[in-house]
Symmetry: C2
Subunit: 161 residues, 2 copies
DNA sequence: AAAATACTTGACTAAAACACTTGGTTTTCT
DNA sequence: AGAAAACCAAGTGTTTTAGTCAAGTATTTT
């Protein structure tokens, strides 16, 4: 089983997108600054997220990324799967050929555990996370620390009128 | 989060011990043959298992390892912890200092997941695994493939009378 | 006492995975 | 035109994994 910063970063970035959904396309530079994830690493992750149709993108100035679906319809398990992390605790990928052609002594145990973990993450949506008070608190703290883009976006919106 | 062959091997070896409990001390050579785990790697693992008082050992010919407690009282979670694997999915080890001194956006999510995994593994004992039909089937297959030591132990027990 | 067997310890290592970095290209807005 | 952003492909240093190897210590049998 493997659940490392790659999967965590992907979920964090997607949550950042969900939280700032009303601000239009969000640039990776913004996410990088708020969540402290290397920009080029984010690019790699978002390439996969886009291929899995979890986000859509707009190029050029004013561009960025947006959720492709309502936050309530995006499960954490999907995000982790999209960046190629598996939540599988078996060595045989559920195939049951862990010892020669047969299953090893603990095959079923790891299968059960994997299923348990997957179910947990499949039943948590980005939307449900956004609604949590603790998440809102952290988001507010992060926005306070980096109010650069709120101002810029405000300017841009006024310039239309 | 990290759950690799180290933890899996440790649990598998302990389960082997539980299954062959009635045969007296089990040598690592036997476990190595049955479970196909390198002998010196097993030595490393059992060193830790012994320090955590999950097994006890007997030296000299006829020696080996035994469970230190009834199989029903040994949780899988303990075994994994004993070989230094953590089931913790957070980057901050539950401390909440994932972003500077504060918690990151997804801190609570990983905490909840970690707790879920831990609970699952803490509530599964070696004893409950031994009782499973699938485990018994695999064990019988393994014993059939390597009947060497059953014979030796039989001889030794007769020589006492 | 000697030999056989079993456990202990610590150093070492090849390969893989991780977490990026570098250096671009392309598209779009102003 | 120029800047801002997404997009893409390789490369890279570090850490972890999953062991191996070598030498030694302890115990029991004969």
């Amino acid at each position: 089983m493997r659940l490392t910063t790659k999967g965590r970063y992907a979920v964090t970035a997607m949550l950042d997108l969900a939280i700032h959904y009303d601000q239009g396309p969000i640039t990776l530079a913004d996410i990088s600054a708020r969540q402290e994830i290397s920009l080029s690493y984010l690019e790699q992750l978002f390439s996969k997220l886009r291929k899995n149709e979890l986000v859509n993108s707009a190029r050029g100035p004013g561009g960025g990324y947006r959720l492709n679906r309502p936050a309530d319809d995006v499960a954490v398990a999907e995000i982790i799967a999209a960046v190629d992390e598996t939540v599988d605790a078996t060595r045989c990928k559920h195939k049951g050929n862990c010892q020669h052609a047969e299953r090893c002594l603990t095959h079923d145990l790891w299968c059960d555990l994997s299923d348990q973990i997957f179910d947990f993450l499949a039943n948590i949506s980005l939307g449900s996370l956004v609604k949590k008070q603790a998440v809102q608190d952290v988001a507010r703290r992060q926005d306070k620390a980096l109010p650069i883009n709120g101002a810029e976006i405000g300017l841009k919106e006024h310039s239309v009128a």
